[in-house]
């Protein structure tokens, strides 16, 4: 398993055209190549606005790349998510490609526990087991039990982020995209997230991450990728 390419980005180009601002063209990147193997954690580097999140969202299929390919190993096959039909992309997201964003998209009336259980239920995990695993994750991330039955809309930033992390790490996705997962966490919780990331890498996952926090970055990176000039750097 180790050493197998899980993500292969080839000749990727992305620019935005703002039709309601005189069709202004905003270039982000072009001719971008990157591949990530099982057990690797590639950390995207570069100043704010260089396109780290745009690259991340292009890999997830949330942004539509202008050109090029993003191939992800899904059920033994490299599938290009830029051309995959919607139902296949949803299937890839359900079983292969996890994403932790900085923000939690809250669904009205859905409790925190149910929100964390949902990805497991979608994958056919038994309800009882899903509840046990969700409880374990929330407990580990020290989210007070009194919060579990509440929808997380009113939670603090750090609490919402932990719900987000629980939701994604509760499944062992082979490929994970981490967009500032530790941005609003305290030191103790940051340590727990580092442990989760290390465990995922140990299980052979391929990770791409953006980490504002230098300590986290240095702890988990196996390689740095500079988004402005595509330079690659090994960790110190």
């Amino acid at each position: 398993m180790s050493g197998q390419v899980f993500i292969e980005i080839e000749n990727l180009e992305k620019h935005f055209i703002l039709h309601n601002a005189d069709a202004a063209k905003i270039p982000v990147f072009e001719r971008l190549d990157l591949s990530v193997k099982s057990g690797e954690c590639v950390v995207l580097a570069g100043v704010s606005g260089v396109g780290k999140s745009t690259l991340m969202r292009s890999i997830y299929g949330n942004y539509l790349p202008t050109g090029g390919a993003v191939r992800v190993l899904h059920e033994g096959e490299m599938v290009d998510i830029t051309t995959a039909p919607p139902f296949q992309l949803l299937d890839i997201r359900r079983r292969t490609l996890g994403y932790v964003s900085q923000f939690l998209r809250v669904i009205p009336r859905i409790s925190t526990l149910e929100l964390v259980m949902q990805p497991m239920l979608d994958n056919g995990v038994d309800a009882k087991e899903a509840e046990d695993r969700a409880s374990f994750m929330l407990d580990m991330l020290q989210l007070p039990k009194a919060h579990w039955a509440l929808p997380p809309a009113t939670f603090s930033g750090g609490e919402q982020q932990r719900v987000n992390i629980a939701r994604s790490f509760v499944l062992d996705f082979p490929v994970m995209l981490l967009d500032e997962p530790t941005a609003s966490l305290d030191a103790a919780n940051r340590e727990r997230v580092i442990k989760l990331i290390e465990r995922a890498l140990g299980n052979g996952a391929a990770l791409i991450g953006i980490f504002h926090d230098e300590a986290v970055r240095e702890a988990v990176a196996t390689r740095f990728f500079e988004v402005s000039d595509f330079a690659v750097r090994e960790p110190a």
Partner: protein
């Protein structure tokens, strides 16, 4: 909702055959275009959202693909249980109505358009079962009670007429009536339009669960992008009768490509 939320959901693997195929569906009203050259495939378990402002052709398209309005040109095929993909307007009117009654559902924006206002809530929910040929009243009552529970209505009011329920409750009765007979494809025209936000949230949550726990395919027309984001797997954006953009819901809303979609997305009020 906990009872529903913890029910097991079948694993919907990538489907191989569409449940509906629309090919170049065009409807003209004299010189006026209702919708033009609309094509799509819909797969079992998929939720397709049709968004656009009023007058963009959403409802015309919905009426054509649900078999209520004969398109001027183009074909609408639905995979019936017996025949597989079948041209809806190639069927006799009796056969088309039978397919609509037995295998499809249609939730109207205004519950009064989808309910019989002079018979009880329970009878409204049981009627589609009778249409399928059920005659065992005990079983039908049981199914009706199951569905009234699922849409969170008080069973004690099963014999009340719909007009004695609030708008949100009427909408829930209509949803139960359209799902009780186990359709494989349900059309919804602004299902939460005209409801206040707390009732809307409850209804959306309900719809999401009902769709997720079955292999039901849904085509939902809405002008509310938040509703579309919550319910739909993918979107078709319509303007002046044309589909101007299609794609995965979050991709269309977060990285809209067409000028009109960009305008639509940027016009949403933030709270």
């Amino acid at each position: 909702m906990t009872a529903l939320a913890t029910e097991e959901r079948p694993l919907n693997l990538v489907p191989d055959a569409p449940i509906m195929r629309a090919t170049n569906v065009t409807k003209k009203y004299g010189l006026i275009t209702g919708c033009k050259d609309v094509s799509f495939d819909l797969f079992p378990g998929e939720v397709l959202g049709i968004v656009g402002e009023s007058g963009s052709g959403k409802s015309t398209l919905l009426n054509c693909i649900s078999g209520h309005l004969n398109p001027t040109s183009g074909t609408v095929e639905f995979a019936t249980k017996k025949r597989g993909l079948t041209d809806m307007f190639g069927l006799s009117e009796a056969d088309r109505r039978r397919v609509q009654r037995e295998e499809l559902g249609f939730v109207h924006q205004n519950p009064r358009d989808g309910l019989r206002m002079r018979v009880s809530a329970g009878a409204n929910v049981a009627e589609p079962l009778m249409n399928l040929g059920n005659r065992h009243y005990g079983n039908m009552r049981e199914d009706t009670i199951t569905w009234l529970n699922r849409v969170e209505l008080d069973i004690a009011r099963i014999d009340d007429n719909p007009r004695n329920f609030s708008g949100g409750m009427q909408q829930r009765i209509q949803i139960a009536r359209n799902l009780v007979h186990g359709p494989r494809l349900v059309f919804m025209d602004e299902p939460t339009g005209g409801l206040d936000v707390s009732v809307q949230a409850r209804l959306l949550d309900l719809l999401r669960h009902l769709v997720r726990r079955s292999q039901l395919a849904v085509i939902v027309v809405t002008h509310d992008l938040a509703v579309a984001r919550l319910l739909a797997d993918r979107l078709m954006v319509m303007k002046n009768g044309y589909v101007v953009e299609t794609g995965l819901t979050d991709q269309v809303l977060d990285d809209p490509q067409h000028a009109y979609t960009q305008l639509l997305v940027s016009a949403v009020l933030q709270i």
